[in-house]
Symmetry: C2
Subunit: 457 residues, 2 copies
């Protein structure tokens, strides 16, 4: 029995315990968007650090930042072998709407072959595969096939604003040959996938204000410009009915994707039917001339993700509200620069604001788009590990999402990134009843063991 076989056997023998440990991890309500959960995030980081020590990693540290801490750990006793950075995030999205959850979001219930809970898939369950792979190797062979540095952050869901500065500050200590990150999806439980591109992101908030306080709409309706209606007018004009973004300059740097790549995408990516099923929608929508897969990957998008203004309760209330706000999420593609787009948006919103109202823009986060060369040696190693771990060669897919931290690895440290997503399209990440498919945990652990083994060759 080889060292790898013994590690894989250990993984199979300890599945029930691993699930129990993951449940403990999911039970921390480490919601980074909500300041009132800062303590939960800190406790989650401490638990994670303890767990890293327990499985045999060294120099474990909970590093303070201006926000939630970064958890670091390493094992560097494989001289001459490559160094792998394992990246993941222990923070999670907010849970609302809470009333649509079938079980409490932090109860981490196992029902059937799923573990339900906020963060179960994004990203606690997925990052856990690599921790358990490290444990399997250290508990059987006593050593790892490669050098490992773990970097787990607590602010991925709010833009990782403290992560890039951390990379810059510690760049000499963080040299490595490849980053492995599991914070994405595969098409179905039998079909693994390697993500070779992600969209960038720009998240902003528009606030529109008018008269000094709420007014009675009977008394003043007709002579005061309603900020809430003004906000609708602005928002409505940012985009055509089919989704094209109507902001001057926005498309200037959008790269045309060549026919070869589009053909590759068509044969490797999901079909429109599959995406509609995943989205649980019966109506297709979007830019003409592009498939649904293309619309969500090689084309930028704008989503109004929240609007608040005026009376929020049941029944009527006769007011002209004094202010209104809209949250906007732009997804960007190569070679768009989030900071340049931000200026275009600010300028256009100012232009759209009528003189009877005032508008203010706040930027919540930015992330550059990522593209990885599919022909890179490390990517081939990752592909071989996937094929053995899941019994099927991986598809190479693009993701429509954004991971600012991975963009930082590429930009600050110039390290290639192997993105192997263990989530499923039906995991309902960012939505009620998020869940993680437990067979993906098991096959993910095997894949990670095989990847480390492959990297050592």
């Amino acid at each position: 029995m080889s060292e790898t076989e013994r590690a894989l056997a250990y993984a199979t023998g300890n599945r029930a315990r691993f699930v129990g440990e993951l449940q403990k991890f999911v039970r921390f309500s480490s919601v980074s968007a909500r300041p009132e959960h800062a303590r939960d995030s800190a406790e989650c980081a401490e638990w994670l650090a303890d767990h890293l020590r327990l499985i045999g990693l060294k120099r474990v540290a909970v590093v303070r930042t201006r926000g939630n801490p970064i958890v670091y750990a390493e094992w560097l006793h494989a001289p001459g072998r490559p160094t792998v950075i394992i990246y993941g995030h222990y923070d999670v999205q907010p849970v609302d709407p809470l009333d649509q959850w079938h079980s409490s979001p932090f109860s981490a219930q196992v029902r059937g072959s799923y573990l339900y809970g906020r963060g179960a898939s994004d990203d606690k369950g997925q990052m856990f595969t690599h921790l358990k792979a490290v444990e399997c190797c250290l508990r059987t062979a006593g050593i790892l096939p490669v050098n490992v540095k773990c970097l787990f952050e607590g602010e991925e869901e709010i833009g990782s604003s403290n992560f890039a500065p951390f990379l810059v500050e510690h760049s000499s200590d963080l040299q490595a040959d490849v980053v492995i990150a599991s914070d994405g999806a595969m098409p179905n439980p039998h079909q693994p996938a390697i993500t070779y591109a992600m969209r960038g992101a720009l998240m902003m908030e528009l606030e529109v204000t008018g008269q000094k306080s709420d007014l009675h709409d009977g008394v003043f309706g007709g002579m005061v410009h309603n900020p809430l209606k003004g906000l609708c007018d602005i928002v409505s004009r940012l985009q055509t009915k089919t989704g094209e973004i109507a902001i001057p300059g926005f498309y200037d740097r959008v790269s045309e994707t060549g026919q070869e790549e589009r053909t590759f995408m068509a044969s490797n990516g999901p079909t429109g039917e599959q995406l509609m099923k995943d989205a649980r929608t019966e109506a297709l929508w979007g830019e003409r001339g592009f498939t649904p897969y293309e619309r969500t990957t090689i084309r930028p998008s704008l989503t109004i993700s929240g609007i608040t203004g005026g009376y929020q309760g049941t029944g009527p209330k006769s007011i002209i509200p004094a202010q209104a706000a809209a949250k906007m999420s732009f997804r960007l593609v190569p070679s768009q620069d989030p900071l340049e787009i931000e200026q275009f948006v600010r300028k256009h919103i100012a232009m759209l604001t009528p003189f009877t109202l005032q508008s203010k823009m706040t930027t919540h986060m930015t992330a550059k788009p990522i593209v990885v060369d599919r022909q890179h040696a490390f990517i081939k190693t990752a592909a071989a590990a996937c094929e053995e771990g899941f019994g099927q060669a991986p598809l190479f897919i693009r993701s429509g999402g954004s991971i600012p931290a991975l963009a930082a690895f590429q930009n600050v440290l110039n390290i290639p990134i192997a993105m192997i997503g263990f989530g499923l399209p039906g995991d309902r990440i960012h939505a009620p009843n998020e869940r993680f498919h437990l067979p993906n945990l098991y096959n993910g652990i095997a894949t990670s063991i095989l990847f480390m083994e492959g990297m050592s060759q």
Copy 2:
């Protein structure tokens, strides 16, 4: 000393006690729009009934309805004299945004010459003038100059849907010569006013839905039609930038106001400068060809009074929300029919809804417009009472607001209505820090005593 002089002297001598009683009345959180306050409303109605008994009214009854109770009381011992119905409402608007109140909305604090609290002006303070006038007469002369029937409802702020049916059911018992109602405003503390017209109202809610649940906007942004953006598009197209309502048929029955009436309005109503000051706005807005006063009285208006959709917390959240809702308040003018307009709105919203989304409309309330003949004898009596009570002849003004109950008096019982508003433009009704000017309480009581006296002649 005449009976009237003795009643007026009693009023002056008991001011401090009256203010204390009004504070007790304001302390009930009788918010009709919120079901959780139903018990507070019921307790408020019981307190009011006890108070009516205490001041000497007869046959006091708290009448159950499908919603909040109606409080009835009478004094019918003036045979051969006219009968006056006193109308008012003891329910109040919701208090949000709560954090903008300088003192708790139901603490009923007196600061300077104002009583602060939700409902202090709209309508508890204003209706209280007539109760105290009745008390002043009964405590001094032992009788009233006229017959009186009191009708106080608890659902004015949510459309009085149970009030018109009550009037229909009890129409034979509710015969009277005039209704007096104080639920409006006068331009300043020294200038009384009689309202001779009110706008009608139609309050509806639009809900837009799309895919079955919230989705990650990175993964699906660009191929799913966002219901929140769809809602903005619909709302944006209901109205031009200057306020004209862009719904086919909407203006068909809007009466042209003649030049004579517009000239009368210009010399009796507030100036644009005054209205801008009252609204605490620096920018004028609205339909061309009409003054601000005209825009808010003889022209219809549409106000989006609330929008809810997607993420409502701080920071960003990467979702495409599954639903969004907007509350709309239409104000109508003669001869618009709320039920006909409702059909036009429903039809147009259906037309504006793209096939990729679904929309649903709910109607919260309707009220017909009211116009009273300024030359009516009872109106002249009211004007004389105002002149003596405030030391200044009243202005005759139009109100932009709507009181469905008063429309019902006109439509069901065919009784003329004397609307004498004791509120001030700066009372911030429906907004944080609502207040009532105490000198208006004192002069309002005197006016009510003088009105009853005048009616007996």
